[in-house]
Subunit: 246 residues, 2 copies
């Protein structure tokens, strides 16, 4: 698919993607609406791809610094071009590297917020082509859930928050891995296509060394009726068309 | 409160409660609607009180045997009278005893299903009066969450299912304790008073040595509008008034 520049419908922000890079989906946009970055906080996105989450968080929050780690060179380059395109190169840094190698890439306890939209599918669960990075973005070829959570625990300050989007099917594994890494799940919100449909995604907030007490939220429902978004989704999405990945 | 006999609006079943015993709430009724007892299965209710869950499961399912453990002598007696009242004394057995002592009360791996509507509140979290059994039913004075899950793991056959209702706030602790006891959470359904309100309860199904794969359900919503139940709740509840504990 050729490279495109899309209008993000948010404070004039635009976004380059395509040309062989994994295109962002609605999960990334919903995660950017769920994550809270407070004034002057520093946020790191793991596996940032072409930078949609750092760019959207920069547009939507008063954070001071937005970083991303991306293993795929071309995606990382595109992410840097997205920073320049939006005039935020001074506060957005993209590190080309492997999240598994985070201990050599960034300092311990150096971020207030970590975001992650990691691959959902266990490598063994589907037919994959390890040579394709779009396959790597969907399958745990390069990175397991444990790698992601371990990296978040390394990067976060005491009390810092991880915001992650993942599949409800894997919630038990997620909770166990969070606990193992001293990350306490503080908020859980399922995402459903319709009010009476099973959740297809889980939005999770976890705090490093947080006090045990979960807030479960009512589900985020995408559609009122076929093709008609709920008001909450329109607010998050600002009218742009959503992916068909729900 | 004096003793009362209520019509359970289900196949003519009636129910004695009161006279100093903890009165059943809507959580017990919703749990009885969530639990699946297949034909000829044996089901055990932990902390059965006056026996509402065994009685409702007997009314609603084709299970072969319904047992309950209850530490409070008067409640256990009332549960036995409820079995007689409904003509199910031949298949409903109430054991007076402490769930913590389950290894001396019932055989290991002897039940297909365990149900539990345990105390929700940590003993240290609220002012309690340890002398009152209605307080014991709400607070973890006599029994912790770990005691309940450990007892379920003892009682269940390989592949057997635990159905529990608890507070969403404690989901992380629940998942960790289930995992510790080889119980895999298979289904999670939150209960909400209204569609846009935070969940107030969590209905959980876990299988002993089950394969990891959670099914998250859309929430069970209680009210369409104030005082008007949703169709699903009417079906579960059969028109009886619900408690104000949502």
């Amino acid at each position: 698919m050729p490279e495109t520049i899309e209008d993000l419908n948010c404070r004039g922000y635009r976004f380059i993607q395509g040309d062989g890079c994994f295109r962002f989906g609605c999960d990334a946009v919903l995660l950017s609406g769920f994550a809270k970055v407070k004034k002057n906080e520093a946020a790191l996105d793991l596996c940032c791809g072409t930078g949609i989450i750092p760019v959207l968080l920069s547009a939507k929050t008063l954070g001071r610094r937005f970083a991303g780690i991306e293993i795929h060179e071309r995606s990382a380059d595109t992410a840097r071009r997205n920073a320049v395109l939006n005039g935020i190169a001074d506060k957005m840094e993209i590190i080309t590297g492997d999240v598994k190698d985070i201990r050599n890439l960034i300092d311990n306890a150096s971020f207030d917020v970590v975001t992650a939209n990691p691959p959902y599918i266990r490598a063994k669960d589907g037919v994959t082509n390890a040579g394709e990075h779009s396959s790597a973005a969907r399958h745990e070829i390069l990175l397991t859930l444990k790698d992601v959570i371990s990296a978040a625990a390394w990067a976060l300050k005491h009390g810092g928050r991880l915001y992650m989007v993942h599949k409800p099917e894997r919630l038990v594994e997620i909770v166990n891995l969070l606990t193992e890494h001293k990350l306490e799940m503080k908020t859980l919100r399922f995402v459903q296509a319709y009010a009476d449909r099973k959740p297809s995604m889980a939005l999770i907030e976890a705090a490093l060394c947080g006090r045990p007490q979960l807030t479960a939220m009512p589900p985020l429902v995408i559609y009122k009726t076929p093709g008609v978004y709920t008001d909450e989704v329109i607010k998050i999405y600002d009218g742009r068309p959503m992916g068909a990945d729900l």
